[in-house]
């Protein structure tokens, strides 16, 4: 549906249409002294876990690549302003099987898959 008003009203009726058997999270990492360090996204995205997960899907954009690249650039400059200078920043999707005991309980080295989204080199 392309008509924006139809889309606007239809979207009100469209929450929770399907489910997945895995959990996923966008992870930001910065390269410093030859090591990749995890960047805490919650300091820049002050939302609940669910909202961060939805927002970082960038599902409003047809072409997500430039948006993710812009996000990596922005993270590099914001981290630098906070005294953590990274020569590269990369975004990675981590995915792991859902567990009935906790959100990260299934997040093990063997069960977690990582897929690269974008990398920004200074």
């Amino acid at each position: 549906m392309q008509w924006p008003f139809v889309t606007h009203f239809y979207a009100m009726m469209a929450p929770f249409q399907s489910y997945t058997t895995t959990n996923a999270e966008l992870v930001a990492e910065g390269l410093r002294s030859g090591r990749w360090e995890r960047i805490d996204l919650t300091q820049y995205l002050p939302h609940s876990r669910g909202e961060i997960a939805i927002r970082t899907r960038m599902s409003s954009f047809n072409d997500k690549s430039p948006v993710y690249l812009e996000m990596a650039k922005k993270l590099q400059s914001m981290e630098s302003a906070n005294g953590r200078t990274y020569s590269s920043v990369r975004l990675v999707w981590e995915k792991w099987p859902k567990s009935q005991y906790g959100f990260y309980d299934g997040h093990t080295d063997t069960d977690t898959t990582r897929s690269s989204v974008v990398q920004f080199n200074l």
Binding site: P15, S18, F103
Partner: protein, 277 residues
């Protein structure tokens, strides 16, 4: 059935239809809705105060979305603003919501809050794309064409010396629009679940209660393991979502109140199990 009888029945139907949408009504309901809704939105926006710069300015990670219907020469409106501009826009939104809540310059306040909510939606909230953010924008637009300031308002206090005094009946049209939209929203959400593949079994609920929204209580429940009760719960959700919107319109017996009670239980359960708000 003769043609004249058909014509007569059609005319009667359209007269009743027109009356239902546009008759005059007491101003109390819209006044109360305006005050309650304004207070809710005020809280909804006020809790963002510590994060305004990060959420809505060049200091944060903000990706606006230009709507397809926006003219090219207006696209500058959705450029991410500098922090001081973002704070000014946010302050206007808060002031508009305060004046809307107390019923001072009600229509103008609702319209300003509508415009700024629209702006925030395309500046940032589009990435979260919730039903309720869209609904809030719609309700603000309807309030801006309503007489919701004719009761429980500062305007009435100025005119009559009491916010509880009132003088004239108002058009029921805005009230009908809001009620109809809420009905259709719940109906649409519930009706789709009758055929959506994901909603044909309890797995939908089981996996949702382990997902990004899951609260500690949800994990506590799932830790007891799978049960066929999840199938029952999914069917109860469908019944709730289909019953609630229609129950509001049924004045017979206590159906309306049962519907409201069901709605309350439904939303409290959602809130306890899924950390969406």
């Amino acid at each position: 059935m003769t043609p004249s009888l058909v014509l007569h029945r059609l005319t009667s139907f359209f007269v009743a239809w027109d009356h239902w949408w546009t008759r005059e009504s007491y101003p109390h309901i819209m006044g109360i809705i305006r005050a309650a809704f304004g207070a809710w939105l005020l809280m909804y926006w006020a809790i963002r105060l510590p994060y305004v710069r990060i959420l809505f300015s060049t200091d944060g990670i903000v990706f606006p979305k230009i709507p397809e219907y926006m003219p090219k020469n207006m696209e500058w409106l959705l450029q991410v603003p500098e922090p001081h501009i973002a704070l000014i826009i946010y302050s206007i939104q808060i002031v508009a919501l305060i004046t809307l809540t107390i019923g001072f310059c009600t229509r103008s306040s609702a319209f300003i809050a509508f415009c700024i909510s629209w702006y925030y939606f395309y500046l940032s909230l589009h990435l979260f794309h919730t039903s309720y953010d869209r609904l809030y924008i719609f309700v603000l637009l309807v309030l801006s064409i309503s007489n919701a300031g004719q009761y429980l308002s500062f305007e009435n206090w100025e005119k009559y010396g009491s916010p509880f005094k009132w003088e004239k009946m108002v058009s029921i049209f805005p009230q009908r629009l809001i009620a109809f939209q809420i009905t259709m929203t719940y109906f649409g959400v519930g009706f789709q679940k009758l055929w959506l593949p994901g909603w044909q079994g309890g797995e939908m609920l089981w996996y949702s209660m382990m997902g990004v929204w899951a609260t500690p209580l949800a994990f506590k429940i799932t830790s007891y393991g799978w049960s066929d009760l999840y199938h029952v719960a999914v069917n109860l959700i469908k019944i709730f979502e289909l019953f609630i919107p229609f129950s509001f319109w049924i004045t017979k017996g206590k159906v309306r109140w049962i519907g409201m009670g069901s709605g309350l239980i439904f939303h409290v359960l959602v809130d306890l199990l899924l950390y969406i708000w």
